[in-house]
Symmetry: C2
Subunit: 209 residues, 2 copies
């Protein structure tokens, strides 16, 4: 929503008649609305014209904030990746064993996904069709490799079973966590604490009673 409005307008009015010349958005709200449109229609299928309609402001008002659609994408991806990287950095700096590190990485990643859901959703749906997308996917791959390394260390140290695929297991556990953006509804699917605990329990202890 615009931060300031002098006239009352319905959402339909805003879509039908973009307001011109006066942005009326702070950068944060603009980013949030654009990311929702990207997630709804796909980044590639979203034009600056569509962003203008959904924001209810003119294209030139958008250009007051950003130089291009890609700059919006880059800022949104930075938000998701910065948060994920912060979790990994904090856990890796600690002196605990590999399974404890894995548990805390999964727990922290679940919390970032719930907290920054639209931004992580955008990240997870990237196809790598541009340099900005490829750079983001590269940062994501670095996180995946960290989890792979920890699984291998844990297997070598006898903390994790070795009768499963050390190549597939890291991707399966991250895939499980990443799926959260597709179905989790705060309030309807339980608390984030329950969610994080269910992930960690399933991966390391299993569901069997």
């Amino acid at each position: 929503m615009p931060t300031e409005r002098t006239t009352t307008a319905t959402a339909d009015d805003a879509v039908a008649a973009p307001r011109r010349g006066r942005p009326g958005y702070d950068r944060e709200t603009l980013l949030s609305v654009c990311v929702d449109v990207f997630n709804r229609y796909g980044y590639d299928a979203t034009s600056m014209g569509m962003l203008s309609k959904h924001l209810g402001i003119s294209k030139s008002a958008i250009y007051h904030h950003v130089q291009s659609k890609e700059e919006i994408l880059e800022q949104a991806l930075d938000r998701a990746l910065d948060a994920l990287e912060a979790v990994f950095a904090e856990v890796l700096a600690s002196g605990s064993g590999p399974v404890n590190k894995l548990e805390r990485i999964l727990d922290g990643t679940v919390r970032v996904l719930v907290d920054q859901m639209p931004y992580v959703t955008l990240l997870l749906r990237l196809r790598g069709n541009s340099e900005v997308e490829e750079a983001a996917l590269q940062r994501r791959r670095t996180l995946t490799r960290t989890v792979e390394d920890l699984v291998r260390q844990a297997q070598e140290q006898g903390e994790l079973r070795t009768d499963i695929s050390g190549k597939s297991a890291p991707r399966l556990m991250l895939g499980m966590v990443n799926s959260i953006v597709d179905w989790y509804q705060p309030g309807r699917s339980g608390t984030v604490d329950q969610l994080a605990a269910t992930v960690v329990t399933m991966v390391f202890a299993g569901l069997r009673a």
Copy 2:
């Protein structure tokens, strides 16, 4: 690739100059190429013109096979959903307990995902922007509810732990399996047998040694 060609042409030639008037594709190959284009650019962002370029045939040649882009989508989604529903139907018809059923559903779903990867990828990336998409998502939700029911039965019968969220667990295990389309590379990520075994072991027994 076209099934029959009288002249040699590179992929670039095919993209630059659509061939007119003679389809040169069987329905199966046409479907497969179109699904790859959908998955690469997104269904919404793919035009019949783009399909024409990638197929190397004219739009009218495509219309020789199908009435619309949406008909191609519908056929592709049917392929994925028919295969998944067949797994569920076979397992549900058996007389085993809920955990055994869940194990076989996960095992069978992994195999369908690997076998029909492009078609399931398309299904999993749908946004529900049309009636065809919404109908497919409805069929997918029915499968999810079956897994939810089995988890609840297993918890009630004491076969699965009750200290985890019965709402989240079914979606997390399916999310883990669905992630396979994003990263699994036959030959490089191990065999499908190892993959299915890793999924079933992780979900029910856990990774801890």
